[in-house]
Symmetry: C2
Subunit: 218 residues, 2 copies
DNA sequence: AATAATTTTTAGATTTGTCTAAATATTTAG
DNA sequence: CTAAATATTTAGACAAATCTAAAAATTATT
């Protein structure tokens, strides 16, 4: 089935929100898709007709199985294109999101199959997020954020939760990216900040807010 | 300036039509963009407001300089993506048009600059059509169709005018593609058909209608 | 439990792009 | 040069996606 670009953006946003939030409300979604709650209500009715969401007026809503399947297809496309932009065209990881936001709506299935193979069937995008395979299956890493990572152990940065421009800018300044190896030297009770040590550079301090958003494998 | 997908499709179609036809009319354009003449009239008014077409009611119309510039940017994107699909993803030349029809509307300038470099700044797309450079300049080959190509001289297929699925299917059957070397053995006065000879295969006859649409360099 | 605050939905518009049917203009032919 | 045929434009509708303002429902607070 084919959906409009707007429908796809709504579906994808609901998917992301229902992973991070217990309940997804019209206001929450309206912020994610950059519209007003009234527009969300209109769209929810359309998505319900197409059996993509479970929705009853005045209640929070969820994606149907069909909705989840659709969301994973869009996310697959988004992340494969991001991988392409970084690995083949040499973009930085903080430059690719908006372009992938458009490319994810290109409809050809065959294109994505071929792109996937061309890229070597990658499992993770440039931000460390898993790329669903053709069946919608996702590889989940056992990862901990820098608050939970044990002290004095080498760890490898594997993903970033908050991917706002501000966050990616900060990471660029500290020279932290996916694959960066580091060790937690110390955690400060006072403000939750952590001191990290990377190769060849002096130790650095990250605020709790930043540390929470950086995930590592050990 | 940014345009909608519909506007871009109209602009591109007008560009192609005014190369092949002395006058571009509403009916002609309506067939090209797959709508009705009434819709064309509506769109022409919008494009005129944006200074993309020279249009007076009941008269044929042309692109302004700005319109031509815009058309060339879209065509550049279309053909670069076609080149990518064939050279990197291994598509056949008869499979790429519809996908490029969507990809040509992705807005990022930087993306196209990088794609162009990644592909080695190609001058011709998989159908032999010239790819405008970043300034909209086009390399024009001195080429003749198989009706005009002199007899008994080796020639190289350089482009195909009619790129319908039917035409590309026929060419695939004869194993003719861009770069194919051939010689005109004979031209038949009776029906305008031509006999061509390619390496390693028996001579073949092409109808005048087909021969007109295959262009060669010598 | 009643009231206040918040959230969600409806009502009514707007924009973009399309359509059909009817009106109008242009072109072609007798 | 008129009449018929053809092309183009207008009028009026519609679907998609959005908005603001107002109404209705839910949730929180005294
Ligand atoms: Mn998107
Ligand atoms: Mn990503
Ligand atoms: Mn297009
Ligand atoms: Mn082409």
């Amino acid at each position: 089935m084919k959906f409009t670009e707007a429908e796809e953006n709504y579906i994808k946003s609901i998917y992301h929100l229902q992973i991070t939030h217990e309940k997804v409300s019209a206001t929450l979604l309206s912020a994610a898709v950059n519209t007003r709650a009234a527009s969300v209500t209109d769209m929810l009715k359309k998505l319900q007709l197409k059996k993509l969401v479970n929705y009853k007026p005045y209640q929070s809503f969820t994606l149907t199985d069909k909705g989840v399947k659709t969301a994973l297809e869009i996310i697959r496309k988004h992340r494969l294109w991001e991988f392409f932009l970084v690995s083949k065209l040499g973009f930085n990881w903080d430059e690719v999101h908006d372009i992938a936001e458009e490319l994810e709506h290109i409809s050809s299935k065959e294109l994505i199959t071929r792109l996937d193979n061309y890229l070597g069937n990658p499992s993770f995008d440039p931000h460390g997020d898993p790329i669903p395979d053709k069946n919608g299956r996702i590889k989940q890493l056992k990862q901990k954020n820098l608050i939970e990572t044990p002290l004095k152990k080498m760890a490898t940065v594997s993903s970033i939760r908050d991917q706002s421009n501000e966050m990616l800018e900060l990471l660029k300044h500290y020279n932290i990216s996916i694959g960066t190896r580091l060790r937690i030297n110390k955690r400060f009770e006072f403000d939750g900040s952590v001191e990290i040590k990377m190769e060849k550079v002096p130790a650095a301090i990250l605020s709790e807010q930043v540390a929470k958003n950086i995930f590592c494998t050990i």
